[in-house]
Subunit: 212 residues, 3 copies
Amino acid sequence: MPGTVTVQVLLDLIGIAVGAAAGALTAVRFRMHYMGCLLLGLVTGIGGALTRDVLLGAVPPAALTDWRYLTAGLAPALLVQHFHPLLSRVESAIDLADAVWLGLFSVAGALKAVHLGVPPMTGVLLGVLTGIGGGVLRDVLVNRKPVVLTQEIYVFPALLGSLVVVVASVIGWSGAAAAVPGAVLCTAVRVLAIRRGWSGPMPVRHPDPSSG
Amino acid sequence: MPGTVTVQVLLDLIGIAVGAAAGALTAVRFRMHYMGCLLLGLVTGIGGALTRDVLLGAVPPAALTDWRYLTAGLAPALLVQHFHPLLSRVESAIDLADAVWLGLFSVAGALKAVHLGVPPMTGVLLGVLTGIGGGVLRDVLVNRKPVVLTQEIYVFPALLGSLVVVVASVIGWSGAAAAVPGAVLCTAVRVLAIRRGWSGPMPVRHPDPSSG
Amino acid sequence: MPGTVTVQVLLDLIGIAVGAAAGALTAVRFRMHYMGCLLLGLVTGIGGALTRDVLLGAVPPAALTDWRYLTAGLAPALLVQHFHPLLSRVESAIDLADAVWLGLFSVAGALKAVHLGVPPMTGVLLGVLTGIGGGVLRDVLVNRKPVVLTQEIYVFPALLGSLVVVVASVIGWSGAAAAVPGAVLCTAVRVLAIRRGWSGPMPVRHPDPSSG
């Protein structure tokens, strides 16, 4: 496997790099130290893939044994720490990075799950988990509620991207060929949701306002 | 395995459904969005079983590959989001659901561990971890201290339920037959602890009150 | 394996015991109940080793199946809860325990990874993860930002300790023989960092102070 750069590996690498950049930007905003930024970047970048591989029994995870994965997880944090002032609007940069990364990881997660022969439903779920896993770990580590649970329209695009890959593979098309359109669809829906302020449905209103 | 509903699977399914309902109720109280409720319900419901299966090497976990498990983890959140106002006293409903779920998962965890041939002590510990795992994940995700660490008499009933199953299997009785009494004992002790306000022992008093 | 106390097992046991004591002290400071202290001690003690073993596929982890590991994880919490007032300066005791434990676990993690034949870079990373894993879990469970991400000079000594073991094993020396100097180096650097108030480099200054 190491040495050959397949679609799977390429998606993983770009996803990890973008996730690591997003994690490092968050660390900078939370005024963490150098090593903290590096670690938070790495955990954010490889967190989703680690979770997926542990759940699928693909251990030790490639993200820990393949130097390309580790480089993709560490290098962005080094760059971000020095050059983030150049990113004039960090907030929107984080949002965009998050959206691209959500798309890449959702399809990469679904693709790997499908390749390992799990049922389609499991492939979709692992796609979603891989997509949001790194961000959830990042948010737990900076001690805030995961944005995926509180922000609107976050899980839905990850679900769409994973579905594209899984459906393509179920109906006999190439899951790998479906990865790029799946990732683009996911990222586009996420970006549109942010720009347009789309809001997901809420649970039925609570009768007792005092519990808020 | 899929197709045959054994005691193990039945306990898992009911436990997951009750846990998912408890998680979704928590999400509603924290005013999360629809997808957030769904995800928090799922994670709370299958979290304990996922942790157990990963630690035992039973991957990919049945909770991710068996459609019955996923249905049990997702359906309650859908119902809770629409009908929770009917539950007039949400707080006590959560407490009761938590107690039933603690009982079911503790014995289910201990049972699976024993079936896989781990030492008795490990079986008890995995029973406790399975019982409290989903709730701990839920609390970490809504960014509060896990109630299992701060509320009185929570781990103790899980320990009792697991012990019943493990002891029954060690002395040659059927662990599965001991599951129902074990779960009932655990739930009963937990409910009694809540109703009677039982309080566990505290560490020796701290001499320096300023650190509180 | 059980019955023979190798360097690996001995390092693990001492590391778990010290980690469990550190976790229990934290629980006492957060005014947790008896069972909470016990659980937080156990999770802090075995958390790093659990994470390492799950990532390496060494399941079920020895920390859950070997009675010596569980004893090392549970006994210190029992002692700490009764005798912690005797530790007149709890804060500095926690810091010292943390430093010793960081050293022991970093080298133990690197050693086990190297023995299982992972690449050197992975060995170093797993050493760091094992070293800081338990503390991160502890901090997540008491709902605060992990000190490893916010305090200065924490990851760096873990990196040093792991490097000593991995380099020794790569150049053909005995990794086990390098464990003690590696652990001492790590602990010494951590203690010096605390005493001297060493501070790690920060990311480039953020131009917008309003986001802090």
